[in-house]
């Protein structure tokens, strides 16, 4: 193994590793979304890359291939529970705090409308969960494909000797493999259908929840979003009428030229 390579990689890794326990503690409290999460990820990658290169260096082709597979499996695992951004954005909040199940029994009696609304919410919540499971399966498929491609790309690269740049490029190679595999899945009909189902079910869940809240607001004589929307619509109509009337009164600007006049040269 090229010792310069190890030294460079250690220097690189030192960027990601906190210098002392105090800084570790400081990063630690930032939770899953701060600088600390990237530091942690970089440390884990460093350790796995070290293990891979140890296993691959001067090893037989089968052993190098096995090291590559182990490394790619590690990367796949690292991203297995990764929550895609859409899952926290488009349907934010939906499905959480699902209403208590009212069973499948037909709604009946004085509370029939409310019961039906809660049933629709429960159904939407179930659809959200189902869509999320389908998306997670597709995500897992993409990771599996990415790991296989990554392992295949690693073997020839490292059996022919490792350059100083190679270690640093390992991470980028993994990202390339992962994006390519993800793109194939994300363009597919199964992914589009699951994503649409997730968003549509989230919309239904939110709509039913809003209706429930509006019902309570009316009981307490509090203003509701529907009432505000009505007022906004009326105001907009008045503004449009006013603007139309103003435009009628204003004489049109008489434009005189299509180009600005050229400035006269100073004498």
């Amino acid at each position: 193994m090229d010792h310069d390579l190890w030294r460079q990689w250690q220097e690189l890794a030192s960027l990601w590793a906190p210098a002392n326990p105090d800084s570790q503690a400081r990063f630690g409290h930032e939770g899953a979304f701060g600088l600390g999460s990237f530091m942690d990820a970089a440390e884990r990658f460093t350790a796995a890359a070290r293990s891979f290169l140890d296993g691959a260096a001067n090893a037989s082709a089968p052993a190098a291939g096995e090291a590559a597979r182990a490394f790619s499996d590690f990367l796949r695992e690292q991203f297995a529970d990764f929550r895609l951004p859409w899952s926290s954005g488009i349907g934010a909040g939906a499905g959480h705090g699902a209403p208590p199940s009212m069973g499948d029994s037909p709604a009946f009696g004085a509370t029939r409308e409310h019961q039906q609304r809660w049933q629709r919410m429960a159904e939407a919540s179930r659809r959200i969960d189902d869509a999320q499971r389908r998306l997670q399966r597709l995500w897992s498929d993409a990771l599996r494909e990415a790991a296989a491609t990554f392992a295949a790309r690693l073997v020839p690269q490292h059996s022919s000797g490792v350059s100083a740049e190679a270690l640093r490029k390992l991470y980028d190679t993994w990202i390339d493999c992962a994006e390519e595999a993800y793109a194939r899945v994300a363009h597919g009909e199964a992914f589009c259908n699951a994503l649409a189902e997730y968003v549509n079910a989230s919309s239904q869940w939110r709509r039913e929840l809003q209706a429930s809240i509006e019902h309570l607001a009316k009981l307490l004589d509090l203003p509701t979003r529907s009432e505000i929307n009505t007022l906004t619509q009326r105001l907009k109509s008045v503004e449009e009428l006013l603007r139309a009337a103003q435009n009628k009164r204003k004489p049109q600007v008489a434009a005189s030229r299509t180009r600005p006049a050229r400035r006269k040269a100073k004498q």
Binding site: L15, A17, P18, A19, N20, A178, A196, N200, S203, P260
Partner: protein, 333 residues
């Protein structure tokens, strides 16, 4: 550099991303501001150029910092630059439609410039979604636009590489919008999901591994601030835009109607320049290149740059090539 020193460098970095060039607000309407930039070079004396940015994200990306500013590049070429800042829609704007944006706000800006400069027509530069708005405006008011430039503008929304279009094809947009605004944060998450490994992991790892140079960190954070400075979208306009363009591809079908009037791109005869990023993952090149076959202009030029969507605004190559290309194209027109 250790992790701790990186942490310190990150904390010490100061970022102000509200644009770097001097400008004056010359008109306003509601939350909209129309700015005119102060010249930094001898003006060419040509027709003013009005930049129409997208409703998604903020327009200061075009003037991010001194060495990464399309606007500064245009000013250096002597172009007289105006810019529309759409502002941040709030709940009171939820019923604002595309017709309001195009025939009220954009038309108001154009009228204001024409009136102030005593001209009958100006040049339009529409960026991304702003290019779609500019195309619609030009079709509705052809006499007010002398030359039209579109930059990373989608026209055919159903090209094979258009992932956003595929994703939204089966989404019930009306239910999603639900008479409200659409959260800018939610849209950001959607955009990040287009390339989640690069956009949520790799770029941060690259920053950690790169030089601790303060300017480098500040440049990164400035772009980062812009990316996540995402206004909520006025619900009605968003619903119309996604339904009409992404789902129904109405520009290609030639059936867009704005404020009761049909947008007929074939009737567009003005000179047109179409600027395209070959590596654009948001607006695939084919989505922009379709413009040529849809418009009636005999003076149509397409220029492709080996850049991505954001690279078209802020890359070093863009600074060298894009403003010069625009100025060169405008000069004889």
């Amino acid at each position: 550099m250790t992790g701790a020193s990186f942490h310190a460098a990150l904390a010490a970095a100061s970022v102000g991303a509200a644009g770097c060039s001097q400008k004056d607000a010359v008109w306003e309407s509601g939350k909209l501001r129309l700015y005119r930039y102060r010249p930094i070079a001898r003006p060419t004396g040509g027709v003013p150029l009005l930049i129409v940015y997208a409703l998604v994200n903020r327009p200061y990306m075009l003037d991010l910092q001194q060495d990464r500013s399309l606007i500064r590049g245009l000013l250096a070429q002597g172009v007289d630059v105006y810019l529309i800042d759409w502002g941040y829609p709030d709940g009171a704007d939820r019923l604002t439609t595309l017709a309001d944006y195009i025939d009220d706000y954009l038309a108001g800006c154009v009228n204001q410039i024409l009136k102030a400069r005593r001209l009958s027509a100006l040049n339009l530069l529409g960026v991304c979604q702003g290019g779609v708005l500019s195309l619609c405006f030009s079709a509705l008011h052809p006499r007010s636009v002398r030359n039209l430039i579109t930059m990373v503008t989608p026209v055919d929304f159903h090209t094979p590489a258009d992932l956003l279009s595929k994703w939204v094809s089966k989404i019930d947009i009306a239910a999603w919008v639900n008479n409200g605004n659409v959260s800018g944060d939610a849209l950001n998450q959607l955009f990040l999901s287009l390339m989640p490994f690069r956009l949520t992991q790799q770029k941060y790892m690259h920053l950690l591994a790169a030089s601790p140079d303060r300017a480098h960190i500040e440049n990164f954070l400035r772009v980062e601030q812009w990316i996540f400075d995402s206004p909520d979208q006025a619900g009605a306009a968003f619903r119309e835009f996604v339904t009409w363009f992404y789902q129904e591809n109405r520009l290609v079908q030639n059936c867009v109607v704005i404020g009761g009037r049909k947008i007929d791109l074939r009737a567009l005869r003005l000179p047109m320049l179409n600027l395209i990023g070959k590596r654009d993952h948001l607006v695939p090149p084919d989505a922009s290149l379709a413009l040529q076959r849809l418009v009636g202009s005999a003076d149509y030029t397409a220029l492709e740059f080996d850049l991505g969507h954001i690279g078209m605004y802020i890359s070093a190559r863009a600074q060298r090539e894009v403003p010069a290309a625009i100025a060169k194209w405008l000069a004889p027109r």
